[in-house]
Symmetry: C2
Protein backbone atom coordinates (compact mmCIF):
# COMPACT_ATOMS: atom_id res chain seq x y z
CA UNK A 1 0.00 0.00 0.00
CA UNK A 2 3.07 2.26 -0.07
CA UNK A 3 2.32 5.45 -1.96
CA UNK A 4 -1.47 4.97 -1.79
CA UNK A 5 -2.24 6.97 1.35
CA UNK A 6 -1.84 10.72 1.09
CA UNK A 7 -0.14 11.15 4.47
CA UNK A 8 3.10 9.23 3.91
CA UNK A 9 4.49 10.13 7.33
CA UNK A 10 1.41 8.72 9.11
CA UNK A 11 1.59 5.60 6.92
CA UNK A 12 5.30 5.05 7.70
CA UNK A 13 4.60 5.42 11.42
CA UNK A 14 1.82 2.80 11.24
CA UNK A 15 3.99 0.32 9.34
CA UNK A 16 6.02 -0.16 12.51
CA UNK A 17 2.87 -1.29 14.31
CA UNK A 18 2.40 -4.28 11.96
CA UNK A 19 -1.27 -3.37 11.65
CA UNK A 20 -3.67 -5.34 9.43
CA UNK A 21 -5.81 -2.91 7.42
CA UNK A 22 -7.88 -5.45 5.51
CA UNK A 23 -8.32 -9.18 4.91
CA UNK A 24 -9.66 -11.13 1.94
CA UNK A 25 -10.89 -14.74 2.10
CA UNK A 26 -11.54 -16.28 -1.29
CA UNK A 27 -12.87 -19.54 -2.70
CA UNK A 28 -10.47 -20.28 -5.52
CA UNK A 29 -11.97 -21.86 -8.61
CA UNK A 30 -10.36 -22.67 -11.97
CA UNK A 31 -9.43 -19.49 -13.84
CA UNK A 32 -11.89 -19.94 -16.71
CA UNK A 33 -14.62 -17.60 -17.93
CA UNK A 34 -17.58 -19.76 -16.83
CA UNK A 35 -16.34 -20.07 -13.23
CA UNK A 36 -16.94 -17.48 -10.50
CA UNK A 37 -14.37 -16.52 -7.88
CA UNK A 38 -16.08 -15.43 -4.67
CA UNK A 39 -15.35 -14.59 -1.09
CA UNK A 40 -15.42 -12.15 1.78
CA UNK A 41 -13.52 -8.89 2.13
CA UNK A 42 -13.06 -7.28 5.56
CA UNK A 43 -11.72 -3.72 5.81
CA UNK A 44 -11.04 -2.79 9.43
CA UNK A 45 -12.00 0.64 10.77
CA UNK A 46 -9.32 3.29 11.14
CA UNK A 47 -7.48 6.07 9.39
CA UNK A 48 -4.01 6.85 8.07
CA UNK A 49 -3.80 10.55 8.85
CA UNK A 50 -7.33 11.64 7.93
CA UNK A 51 -7.71 9.03 5.16
CA UNK A 52 -9.88 6.01 5.89
CA UNK A 53 -8.54 2.45 5.76
CA UNK A 54 -9.09 1.00 2.29
CA UNK A 55 -8.15 -1.91 0.03
CA UNK A 56 -5.35 -1.62 -2.48
CA UNK A 57 -7.85 -1.60 -5.33
CA UNK A 58 -7.41 -3.06 -8.78
CA UNK A 59 -8.40 -3.31 -12.40
CA UNK A 60 -9.05 -6.81 -13.70
CA UNK A 61 -6.34 -8.21 -15.97
CA UNK A 62 -9.11 -9.08 -18.43
CA UNK A 63 -10.26 -5.47 -18.32
CA UNK A 64 -13.86 -5.94 -19.50
CA UNK A 65 -14.95 -8.16 -16.61
CA UNK A 66 -17.31 -6.99 -13.87
CA UNK A 67 -17.52 -7.61 -10.11
CA UNK A 68 -20.53 -7.70 -7.78
CA UNK A 69 -20.42 -6.76 -4.10
CA UNK A 70 -23.09 -7.48 -1.50
CA UNK A 71 -22.47 -5.50 1.68
CA UNK A 72 -22.96 -7.57 4.83
CA UNK A 73 -21.78 -5.23 7.58
CA UNK A 74 -20.40 -1.77 8.21
CA UNK A 75 -20.38 1.48 6.36
CA UNK A 76 -18.17 2.30 3.41
CA UNK A 77 -17.73 3.57 -0.09
CA UNK A 78 -16.55 1.98 -3.33
CA UNK A 79 -14.16 4.25 -5.23
CA UNK A 80 -14.17 3.46 -8.95
CA UNK A 81 -12.60 4.81 -12.12
CA UNK A 82 -12.05 3.89 -15.76
CA UNK A 83 -8.88 4.15 -17.85
CA UNK A 84 -10.69 6.94 -19.77
CA UNK A 85 -11.01 9.11 -16.66
CA UNK A 86 -14.59 8.53 -15.51
CA UNK A 87 -14.90 8.13 -11.76
CA UNK A 88 -17.62 7.27 -9.27
CA UNK A 89 -17.87 6.88 -5.49
CA UNK A 90 -20.81 4.79 -4.27
CA UNK A 91 -22.13 3.96 -0.83
CA UNK A 92 -21.77 0.54 0.81
CA UNK A 93 -24.13 -0.35 3.64
CA UNK A 94 -25.63 -3.65 4.83
CA UNK A 95 -28.06 -5.09 2.25
CA UNK A 96 -26.63 -2.94 -0.55
CA UNK A 97 -25.68 -4.54 -3.84
CA UNK A 98 -22.92 -2.70 -5.70
CA UNK A 99 -22.13 -3.51 -9.32
CA UNK A 100 -18.69 -2.65 -10.64
CA UNK A 101 -19.18 -2.69 -14.43
CA UNK A 102 -16.53 -4.13 -16.77
CA UNK A 103 -13.40 -1.92 -17.14
CA UNK A 104 -13.78 -0.06 -13.82
CA UNK A 105 -10.98 -0.17 -11.22
CA UNK A 106 -12.41 -0.42 -7.71
CA UNK A 107 -11.35 0.01 -4.10
CA UNK A 108 -13.48 -0.26 -0.94
CA UNK A 109 -13.05 2.25 1.86
CA UNK A 110 -14.27 1.83 5.44
CA UNK A 111 -15.77 5.13 6.61
CA UNK A 112 -17.48 3.62 9.68
CA UNK A 113 -16.59 2.58 13.21
CA UNK A 114 -16.80 -1.18 12.69
CA UNK A 115 -15.51 -3.71 10.14
CA UNK A 116 -16.73 -3.22 6.56
CA UNK A 117 -17.64 -6.72 5.36
CA UNK A 118 -18.59 -7.47 1.75
CA UNK A 119 -19.31 -10.62 -0.23
CA UNK A 120 -17.79 -10.39 -3.71
CA UNK A 121 -18.13 -12.35 -6.97
CA UNK A 122 -16.17 -11.95 -10.23
CA UNK A 123 -15.54 -14.06 -13.35
CA UNK A 124 -12.99 -16.85 -13.00
CA UNK A 125 -10.82 -15.54 -15.84
CA UNK A 126 -10.76 -11.89 -14.67
CA UNK A 127 -7.42 -11.83 -12.82
CA UNK A 128 -6.06 -8.86 -10.88
CA UNK A 129 -4.04 -5.96 -12.20
CA UNK A 130 -2.76 -4.24 -9.05
CA UNK A 131 0.21 -2.66 -10.82
CA UNK A 132 -1.67 0.10 -12.61
CA UNK A 133 -3.19 1.41 -9.37
CA UNK A 134 0.12 1.01 -7.51
CA UNK A 135 1.68 3.38 -10.01
CA UNK A 136 -1.23 5.73 -10.75
CA UNK A 137 -3.24 5.69 -7.58
CA UNK A 138 -6.98 6.45 -7.81
CA UNK A 139 -8.13 9.86 -9.03
CA UNK A 140 -10.23 10.30 -5.87
CA UNK A 141 -9.49 9.74 -2.18
CA UNK A 142 -11.91 9.51 0.75
CA UNK A 143 -10.89 11.50 3.82
CA UNK A 144 -12.51 12.66 7.04
CA UNK A 145 -13.34 16.39 7.15
CA UNK A 146 -15.20 17.82 10.15
CA UNK A 147 -16.09 14.29 11.27
CA UNK A 148 -17.59 13.27 7.91
CA UNK A 149 -16.40 11.36 4.87
CA UNK A 150 -15.50 13.56 1.95
CA UNK A 151 -14.26 12.77 -1.57
CA UNK A 152 -11.23 14.81 -2.64
CA UNK A 153 -8.93 14.88 -5.66
CA UNK A 154 -5.76 12.82 -5.31
CA UNK A 155 -2.98 15.38 -5.82
CA UNK A 156 -0.51 12.57 -6.57
CA UNK A 157 -2.58 10.89 -9.30
CA UNK A 158 -0.77 10.62 -12.62
CA UNK A 159 -1.43 8.59 -15.76
CA UNK A 160 1.01 5.85 -16.71
CA UNK A 161 1.54 4.37 -20.15
CA UNK A 162 -0.74 1.37 -20.63
CA UNK B 1 -44.24 -25.79 -13.21
CA UNK B 2 -46.70 -28.33 -14.64
CA UNK B 3 -45.28 -31.82 -14.36
CA UNK B 4 -42.60 -30.85 -11.82
CA UNK B 5 -44.48 -31.62 -8.60
CA UNK B 6 -45.07 -35.25 -7.85
CA UNK B 7 -48.66 -34.80 -6.62
CA UNK B 8 -50.36 -33.58 -9.82
CA UNK B 9 -53.80 -33.51 -8.23
CA UNK B 10 -52.62 -31.23 -5.41
CA UNK B 11 -50.85 -29.03 -7.97
CA UNK B 12 -53.97 -28.75 -10.15
CA UNK B 13 -56.06 -27.80 -7.10
CA UNK B 14 -53.57 -25.06 -6.16
CA UNK B 15 -53.49 -23.63 -9.69
CA UNK B 16 -57.06 -22.41 -9.14
CA UNK B 17 -55.88 -20.35 -6.17
CA UNK B 18 -53.54 -18.24 -8.36
CA UNK B 19 -50.82 -18.75 -5.77
CA UNK B 20 -47.32 -17.30 -6.21
CA UNK B 21 -44.73 -19.96 -5.29
CA UNK B 22 -41.60 -17.92 -5.96
CA UNK B 23 -40.37 -14.55 -7.24
CA UNK B 24 -37.13 -13.49 -8.91
CA UNK B 25 -35.88 -9.89 -9.12
CA UNK B 26 -32.92 -9.43 -11.40
CA UNK B 27 -30.55 -6.64 -12.46
CA UNK B 28 -30.27 -7.18 -16.20
CA UNK B 29 -26.88 -6.47 -17.71
CA UNK B 30 -25.64 -6.99 -21.28
CA UNK B 31 -25.44 -10.70 -22.13
CA UNK B 32 -21.65 -10.87 -22.49
CA UNK B 33 -19.17 -13.11 -20.66
CA UNK B 34 -17.51 -10.34 -18.62
CA UNK B 35 -20.81 -9.07 -17.19
CA UNK B 36 -22.57 -10.55 -14.16
CA UNK B 37 -26.34 -10.95 -13.88
CA UNK B 38 -27.44 -10.72 -10.25
CA UNK B 39 -30.52 -10.46 -8.13
CA UNK B 40 -32.73 -11.82 -5.41
CA UNK B 41 -34.79 -15.02 -5.44
CA UNK B 42 -37.65 -15.51 -2.98
CA UNK B 43 -39.25 -18.94 -2.58
CA UNK B 44 -42.34 -18.73 -0.37
CA UNK B 45 -43.02 -21.40 2.27
CA UNK B 46 -45.54 -24.12 1.53
CA UNK B 47 -46.06 -27.52 -0.01
CA UNK B 48 -47.78 -29.13 -3.00
CA UNK B 49 -48.94 -32.38 -1.43
CA UNK B 50 -45.90 -33.22 0.71
CA UNK B 51 -43.40 -31.61 -1.69
CA UNK B 52 -41.93 -28.26 -0.68
CA UNK B 53 -42.33 -25.15 -2.82
CA UNK B 54 -39.37 -24.81 -5.19
CA UNK B 55 -38.13 -22.95 -8.24
CA UNK B 56 -38.48 -24.38 -11.72
CA UNK B 57 -34.72 -24.97 -11.89
CA UNK B 58 -32.51 -24.77 -14.93
CA UNK B 59 -29.30 -25.57 -16.72
CA UNK B 60 -27.49 -22.61 -18.24
CA UNK B 61 -27.70 -22.37 -22.04
CA UNK B 62 -23.92 -22.00 -22.04
CA UNK B 63 -23.63 -25.20 -20.03
CA UNK B 64 -20.17 -24.66 -18.50
CA UNK B 65 -21.08 -21.51 -16.56
CA UNK B 66 -21.38 -21.41 -12.77
CA UNK B 67 -23.73 -19.60 -10.35
CA UNK B 68 -23.14 -18.38 -6.80
CA UNK B 69 -25.85 -18.09 -4.14
CA UNK B 70 -25.60 -16.24 -0.85
CA UNK B 71 -28.48 -17.18 1.45
CA UNK B 72 -29.99 -14.16 3.19
CA UNK B 73 -33.03 -15.64 4.95
CA UNK B 74 -34.92 -18.85 5.52
CA UNK B 75 -34.10 -22.52 5.33
CA UNK B 76 -33.78 -24.51 2.16
CA UNK B 77 -31.88 -26.88 -0.04
CA UNK B 78 -30.31 -26.58 -3.48
CA UNK B 79 -31.05 -29.61 -5.65
CA UNK B 80 -28.40 -30.07 -8.34
CA UNK B 81 -27.54 -32.54 -11.08
CA UNK B 82 -25.33 -32.93 -14.14
CA UNK B 83 -26.23 -34.25 -17.60
CA UNK B 84 -24.00 -37.24 -16.73
CA UNK B 85 -26.17 -38.25 -13.78
CA UNK B 86 -24.30 -36.87 -10.76
CA UNK B 87 -26.56 -35.26 -8.20
CA UNK B 88 -26.20 -33.29 -4.98
CA UNK B 89 -28.53 -31.69 -2.45
CA UNK B 90 -26.95 -28.95 -0.31
CA UNK B 91 -28.25 -26.90 2.60
CA UNK B 92 -29.19 -23.22 2.34
CA UNK B 93 -29.30 -21.17 5.53
CA UNK B 94 -28.58 -17.50 6.28
CA UNK B 95 -24.90 -16.63 5.77
CA UNK B 96 -24.30 -19.75 3.65
CA UNK B 97 -22.53 -19.42 0.31
CA UNK B 98 -23.50 -22.10 -2.20
CA UNK B 99 -21.49 -22.59 -5.39
CA UNK B 100 -23.17 -24.27 -8.33
CA UNK B 101 -20.22 -25.39 -10.50
CA UNK B 102 -20.35 -25.14 -14.31
CA UNK B 103 -22.65 -27.74 -15.98
CA UNK B 104 -24.88 -28.36 -12.94
CA UNK B 105 -28.65 -27.79 -13.17
CA UNK B 106 -29.99 -26.25 -9.96
CA UNK B 107 -33.26 -25.64 -8.16
CA UNK B 108 -33.84 -24.10 -4.74
CA UNK B 109 -36.39 -25.62 -2.37
CA UNK B 110 -37.90 -23.92 0.67
CA UNK B 111 -38.05 -26.45 3.52
CA UNK B 112 -38.73 -23.84 6.23
CA UNK B 113 -41.64 -21.84 7.60
CA UNK B 114 -40.64 -18.43 6.21
CA UNK B 115 -39.49 -17.05 2.85
CA UNK B 116 -36.24 -18.51 1.48
CA UNK B 117 -34.31 -15.49 0.19
CA UNK B 118 -31.06 -15.81 -1.77
CA UNK B 119 -28.78 -13.39 -3.59
CA UNK B 120 -27.53 -14.93 -6.85
CA UNK B 121 -24.81 -14.07 -9.39
CA UNK B 122 -24.04 -15.74 -12.73
CA UNK B 123 -22.09 -14.85 -15.89
CA UNK B 124 -23.81 -12.45 -18.30
CA UNK B 125 -23.60 -14.87 -21.22
CA UNK B 126 -24.93 -17.94 -19.33
CA UNK B 127 -28.59 -17.83 -20.39
CA UNK B 128 -31.29 -20.17 -19.07
CA UNK B 129 -32.22 -23.57 -20.40
CA UNK B 130 -35.51 -24.35 -18.65
CA UNK B 131 -36.66 -26.80 -21.35
CA UNK B 132 -34.45 -29.71 -20.36
CA UNK B 133 -35.73 -29.70 -16.77
CA UNK B 134 -39.33 -29.15 -17.93
CA UNK B 135 -39.08 -32.38 -19.89
CA UNK B 136 -36.79 -34.45 -17.65
CA UNK B 137 -37.49 -33.12 -14.18
CA UNK B 138 -34.75 -33.43 -11.55
CA UNK B 139 -33.53 -36.87 -10.46
CA UNK B 140 -34.22 -36.03 -6.82
CA UNK B 141 -37.19 -34.40 -5.08
CA UNK B 142 -37.43 -32.93 -1.57
CA UNK B 143 -40.52 -33.94 0.39
CA UNK B 144 -41.72 -33.81 3.98
CA UNK B 145 -41.67 -37.17 5.80
CA UNK B 146 -42.58 -37.31 9.51
CA UNK B 147 -42.22 -33.54 9.74
CA UNK B 148 -38.72 -33.45 8.22
CA UNK B 149 -37.26 -32.76 4.79
CA UNK B 150 -36.20 -35.88 2.95
CA UNK B 151 -34.60 -36.43 -0.47
CA UNK B 152 -36.32 -39.07 -2.59
CA UNK B 153 -35.92 -40.39 -6.12
CA UNK B 154 -38.16 -38.77 -8.70
CA UNK B 155 -40.15 -41.68 -10.12
CA UNK B 156 -41.06 -39.62 -13.20
CA UNK B 157 -37.49 -38.64 -14.12
CA UNK B 158 -36.50 -39.68 -17.62
CA UNK B 159 -33.61 -38.68 -19.89
CA UNK B 160 -34.36 -36.74 -23.05
CA UNK B 161 -32.19 -36.51 -26.16
CA UNK B 162 -29.83 -33.53 -25.85
Amino acid sequence: MKGQYLDEQAYAAMLNQDLVLYEVYEIKRPESAGELMHGISIVHPGKVGDEYFMTKGHFHTVLDTAEVYYCLKGQGTMVMETPEGDWSVKELRPGCVLYVPPCWAHRSVNIGQQDLVTFFVYPGNAGHDYGTIEQQGFRKLVVERDGRAQVIDNPRWHAIER
